[in-house]
Structure formats: structure tokens, C-alpha cells
């Protein structure tokens, strides 16, 4: 097992179908995940490139703590220029590939180029002996579950996979990148969903990445026993605390409804009449009779927020069925029950589609009269037709803006081309500032602030601080649901490397990574005067009397990009997404 000095970058050239390793730069040792992806893309990707052309660069980067015994620290970031936002994008996922790459000492996989024949498919095999690109035409157009079953059938139990489905192969802009979870079945149920990164992977002809760490052990921190003590203390504190996600994010539905952010019928309302039948509590109630249950999606996770959902016949249907999916594929489309949403969630996972973008697009289709509200069977048929290149399905697969354009519909809720998540910017205006000015566009995981009573003069700072904390969290490999603070993360980094990481260093790191992303986007053509959210969210209200609108002035939105002085409160903010 390599020491940290043996860490490497894996370069993959999909034009020449070759791979090579490069020593990992020591100056980047505190970078991983999103921050590392930002550094690599800043250095190696032309911001004006065609996101689906050979010039784009696809990065797969585990977090700094991934591969260690730190709890819930195995997230992997997928990064590139997004075909949806035309800016820099990062999305991260659980599952085991992040841990497995780090056990091999691989800090990032950097994929460039494009095969000459767009009809060919390839896989990338990574193990202790090295890495190679292999022909994989027999996987062409396979759904994600079938791909993983086929791929992993003859592989050791230690292997995990990163895959795209037919949506990514078709280069649909809402396509996701799937990762296998840590269960025995190794299902492709964890998705780096936002921003169309699956389309980028598809544009490179790369259908799957197989990672087998074999007998490689977890990474041994230089802090030794002190690291173990820290891990034990942190774990104990978490398990003795309220554990608010122990039944999954789907149980957030009723409180989101009360806060007018359980959006209904293409966001024309903030509350749904179907809140009871869409409440994740219905999933939990069915565990004793149907089977399924809660589990961890990655080895070493102590949060266990992922649910395994069975159907009425007790058969596995999908995992995990999350709050965002229930909102966008359910309530937003007036689809009434979790069972119906589970079918659509499974379809999205199979096809490799972002459930948020897909639900938003379906909502626009319904709102424009192209489908009946609540018709989940019709929604399923439209998605299924994607494998046959169906026109309506592919329109949906290209996301909310493309669907709105083709349907000639005015109400298209997006920010920078990406569908707005469940957390609506009208009751949650500080979050709206993140969508409006943040480098990730309409992405709540970039900086979520759920504080409806906050005065407007605090929005910019709250958004900036949330963005900075989430940036560092998404660089660390920690899942946002274990809610680490900057102090937690720098303490773990310190024990990992046997050094002291100051508050100033960790805060500066977060800010520099945000600055990298903003600079990339500026070169890609983003302008501060264009920062904002779709007009429908400014002009149309939700909540009581439809009075809540996103009425934050541009001046305040753009203040979030001017660095505020660092204050003690920053280090107590928990990552939240």
C-alpha cells in the first residue's frame, strides 16, 4: 500500500486510448474532491471549449479523507465543464469508488480527448497493477443495472464501478454518472447527478470505470493513534446526537411543505395536497411488511441515510429515494405516491439521468399541456423511449431549459441553465443567492441556507459562508450529511498528515477554490450582470397569498462574490446540502 508520497494522478487519453500516471503534486495535498477538480480544470481545460467536444476534461476525484477510517468520508467528485450551465461543474456521489481509488493512491482520474468513432464504447480498468482502456462495445446502450451486473459478475468482491447509462451515451444534458454502493449487490444507485456530467463521460466514449483495490488497505494517517482517537470521538459524538437523517432525507417532506418549499405543479405552489402520501414516513412504515430498510451507501458511513425501497410485492425497486427526487419527480409533477416516484427514480438511475433535472423538465411538459398532471405511467413511458432515441424522452433528458424552449413555455424554473432543486429560492432567499451567483448555478449542495426569517442584508454573507463551507466539505470526502464544520475538517486533515492546519488556511483554501471556479466561468462567458434566477421565480410568487417572490436585488446577489472578513462563526457552520 503506497504512502502519501506515492499518491498519483491517472491521466486517460480517450483519443489514443492510453493511460499514464503522474506523481501527485505535493502542493495539492490538502486538496481533493471538488477543490482538486477545480484546480485541475483551471489548469487543463479551456473554459471556452465545447462541453461535449474533445477539449473538455472529465475529472473523477475522491476527497482528501477518502480511503481512511474517518466516518462517512468516501465521497467522490465528478467535475468538468457542464453542457447545461456552460460553466464549471462538480457533482459528487457516495458509493465505494472514491474509497477504492484512494486505497490505490489515485487522487484523481483525468480523462481527455475523444475516440475517433463516436459509436465505439470503452471501459477503464484500474487496479494495483495499473490502468488500461479496454473495448466495451458489448455494453453499448445497456441500462446501468445491467451494465454493473455484467461488469462485476466475474470481478472480485473488492471491485466497484462508475458507469453511465443510455442517457450519457446519447449525450443528453441531464445525464448523470452512477457509482455502485457498498452492498453485496453493488447497485449503481449513487449518482453524481447534477450538471450533465454523464453526457461529458459519454462524449468521451467511456461507458464504465472499474476500480479494484484488491488487498490494498485503508490509508494510514500520519497522526497514528491520535487520528484513531479523533475518529472515535467524532463518531461517538455523532451517534449520541440527534442523528436527524437516520430515516433518510425523504422524511423531510412534511417540514419542507410547511416552509412552502415542497413545490407543486411546476412550482406554481409551495405546498402539495399529496404531502401525506409523498412523505418518506410511508417508506419507513412499509419496511416491516415489504422489506428493504436503511443502509449505508459507502463503507464506513455512520449516517445510514440511504433507504432501500421495495414495491408492494416485496421486491427491490430502488435506492435511495431522496427528498429532492420525491419533490421534483413527485409533487412538482402532481404525482401522488412514493410508489409511483420509486418507479421513476429507478428509471432515472437505469438511464443515468438527474432526477431533479428530469422532474423539472416533466413539470414543464405537463404545465405546457404536453402530458396530464400526475400521469406517472405516461412519464415512465416517455423516459423508457429514451433507449429508442424517442424525441420527447430525449427532450426531457436534455433538461428543463431545452424542454421549455421546445414547448415554447414561459415558466421554466432554472438558474444558469440548471433546474432549480426542491429548495425554492422564494421562501429561502439566501439559498437563492447561491443559485444566482454561485459557480454551480441552481444547485442546493453548493450552499443551502434554510432560514426563512433572515433579513435581506445578511443574505450575501450567509450564502458566501455556506458556499465556502460546502466547498471545503466537498473537497474533503466527508458527506454533507455528517455535517462537518471547517474546524472538524482541518482537525482531520491535521491528523491525516501529522501537521497543524490553521483556521486561516482552511478558510483560504475554500475561498481560493470558489475563486478558481468563478474565474473559469468568467472565461467561459459568464457575466456578473447576468447573475440571477429565471424570471418566473422573480415575477410569480408562492406561499400564502403567493407573496413570496425572489426579489433580491442584483447588488446583494453580487455581494456574495466579494469576500467578507473571516469571522469565528464561519468555523461553526455545519456543511448542509
Amino acid at each position: 500500500m503506497p504512502g502519501f508520497d506515492d499518491d498519483r494522478l491517472l491521466h486517460v487519453d480517450m483519443t489514443n486510448l492510453t493511460t499514464r500516471f503522474e506523481p501527485f503534486p505535493a502542493k495539492w495535498k490538502l486538496l481533493g474532491g471538488r477543490g482538486l477538480s477545480a484546480k485541475i480544470l483551471t489548469a487543463e481545460c479551456d473554459p471556452t471549449c465545447d462541453p461535449l467536444g474533445p477539449g473538455n476534461v472529465l475529472v473523477m476525484a475522491p476527497g482528501v479523507m477518502s480511503g481512511t477510517t474517518a466516518p462517512t468520508s468516501g465521497r467522490i467528485s465528478i467535475g468538468a465543464k457542464s453542457p447545461l450551465t456552460n460553466g464549471i461543474k462538480e457533482a459528487n456521489a457516495g458509493g465505494n469508488p472514491g474509497q477504492d481509488l484512494m486505497k490505490l493512491g489515485i487522487r484523481a482520474v483525468i480523462v481527455k480527448g475523444q475516440p475517433a468513432d463516436p459509436n465505439r464504447r470503452y471501459g477503464l480498468r484500474v487496479d494495483a497493477s495499473g490502468a488500461k482502456v479496454v473495448a466495451a462495445d458489448e455494453y453499448k446502450n445497456l441500462m446501468n443495472y445491467a451494465s454493473c451486473e455484467k461488469l462485476l459478475a466475474s470481478e472480485p468482491k473488492t471491485a466497484s464501478a462508475i458507469t453511465i447509462g443510455p442517457a450519457g451515451e446519447l449525450r443528453l444534458k441531464g445525464a448523470s454518472v452512477g457509482c455502485t454502493d457498498s452492498d453485496r449487490e453493488r447497485r449503481p444507485a449513487r449518482h453524481a447527478a447534477r450538471g450533465g456530467l454523464g453526457a461529458v463521460m459519454g462524449s468521451k466514449g467511456l461507458k464504465w470505470v472499474l476500480v479494484d483495490p484488491g488487498k490494498a488497505k485503508t490509508r494510514q494517517p500520519l497522526g497514528g493513534k491520535d487520528f484513531n482517537a479523533l475518529t472515535k470521538r467524532y463518531t461517538q459524538a455523532y451517534l449520541e446526537g440527534p442523528q436527524i437523517f437516520k430515516h433518510g432525507t425523504s422524511t423531510v417532506v412534511p417540514v419542507a411543505n410547511m416552509l412552502n418549499t415542497f413545490v407543486y405543479k411546476n412550482r406554481t405552489e409551495g405546498q402539495s395536497p399529496d404531502v401525506q402520501t409523498l412523505d418518506g414516513a410511508r417508506i419507513v412504515e412499509n419496511f416491516p411488511t415489504r422489506g428493504g430498510g436503511m443502509h449505508n451507501c459507502m463503507t464506513g458511513c455512520i449516517v445510514k441515510c440511504s433507504n432501500i425501497v421495495h414495491d408492494k410485492d416485496g421486491k427491490y425497486k430502488t435506492s435511495a429515494l431522496e427528498f429532492e427526487t420525491i419533490t421534483l419527480l413527485g409533487s412538482n409533477c402532481a404525482i401522488k405516491t412514493v410508489d409511483e416516484v420509486a418507479i421513476l427514480d429507478r428509471l432515472c438511475d437505469e438511464l443515468g439521468l438527474d432526477t431533479i433535472e428530469t422532474g423539472a423538465a416533466l413539470g414543464v411538459l405537463m404545465d405546457s399541456g404536453g402530458m396530464e398532471w400526475g400521469d406517472s405511467a405516461a412519464a415512465a413511458r416517455v423516459l423508457e423511449e429514451i433507449t429508442r432515441g424517442g424525441e420527447t424522452g430525449c427532450m426531457i433528458g436534455h433538461g428543463v431549459v431545452e424542454t421549455g424552449r421546445r414547448r415554447n413555455h414561459a415558466r421554466v424554473p432554472h438558474a444558469r441553465g440548471q433546474a432549480i432543486p426542491a429548495w425554492d429560492p422564494r421562501p429561502l432567499k439566501a439559498t437563492g443567492v447561491t443559485y444566482a451567483a454561485g459557480p454551480m448555478g441552481g444547485d442546493h449542495t453548493a450552499g443551502l441556507i434554510i432560514n426563512p426569517g433572515m433579513p435581506m442584508d445578511q443574505f450575501a454573507r450567509a450564502s458566501q459562508e455556506a458556499q465556502l463551507v460546502n466547498m471545503v466539505c466537498d473537497s474533503s470526502g466527508f458527506c454533507q450529511f455528517i455535517s462537518p464544520t471547517l474546524d472538524d475538517i482541518r482537525e482531520f486533515y491535521g491528523q491525516l498528515y501529522g501537521i497543524t492546519v490553521s483556521r486561516e488556511e482552511i478558510a483560504n483554501q475554500g475561498w481560493e477554490c470558489l475563486a478558481d471556479e468563478w474565474a473559469f466561468n468568467e472565461k467561459a462567458g459568464w457575466r456578473d450582470e447576468d447573475n440571477g434566477v429565471a424570471r418566473c421565480l422573480v415575477e410569480e410568487g408562492i406561499g400564502p397569498g403567493h407573496a413570496m417572490k425572489f426579489d433580491v436585488p442584483l447588488e446583494i446577489i453580487n455581494q456574495s462574490k466579494q469576500r467578507f472578513p473571516v469571522r469565528d462563526e464561519l468555523f461553526a457552520i455545519k456543511a448542509s446540502g
Binding site: G241, V252, V255, N451, G453, P455, G577
Partner: protein, 92 residues
């Protein structure tokens, strides 16, 4: 006077206040006092169907995570006590 700590998601009714001092002798009385001062708060915490706290709410009394027993709201509090309301909210 016992203090009720208000989680960020519930600061709409309190217009941004993160803590409210009350005069209640029990947890239930303190929550009712907050509702009296800031209408709308109670509905976010208490489930009218059961009379108890919502399933997705947890209460912490002086750093002790409380259970969900029926007598929870009758638990006495002292003047220096802090009742923290936690809402299970957030998530993708």
C-alpha cells in the same frame, strides 16, 4: 426564564430571532409561550393530531437529546434551562 433556541428553518415566525425567553414551567408551556409571542411557530413544532411534537422534530434540553415519550411536554424546566428545537431538514 427558560430559553427556547429556534433552529434556522423555524425563524420565519420569529422574524429571525434565534432564541426566545419564556416564562413556562414545563417544556410544553415554554413552547406555547413562544407561539403566543410568535404565531406560527407552534405549528412547526407540535403535531395537532397527536398533541406531541412532530415526528421530524427533536428537542434537546441542556444538551440532553430528549425522547418522544408522551410526558415529554410536561417535563419541568428551570429558569436557566435551554430548550433547543431541532428540525430534521436539509437534504438532497
Amino acid at each position: 426564564m427558560p430559553t427556547v433556541l429556534i433552529p434556522a428553518p423555524y425563524r420565519g415566525p420569529t422574524r429571525g430571532l434565534d432564541r426566545v425567553q419564556t416564562t413556562g414551567a414545563t417544556i410544553g408551556a415554554c413552547l406555547a409561550a413562544v407561539e403566543a409571542q410568535h404565531p406560527g411557530f407552534g405549528a412547526l413544532v407540535l403535531d395537532p393530531a397527536t398533541g406531541g411534537i412532530h415526528r421530524f422534530v427533536k428537542l434537546i434540553l441542556n444538551r440532553e437529546v430528549l425522547g418522544r415519550e408522551a410526558s415529554l411536554l410536561d417535563r419541568p424546566v428551570a429558569d436557566s434551562d435551554e430548550i433547543e428545537v431541532l428540525a430534521a431538514i436539509g437534504g438532497g
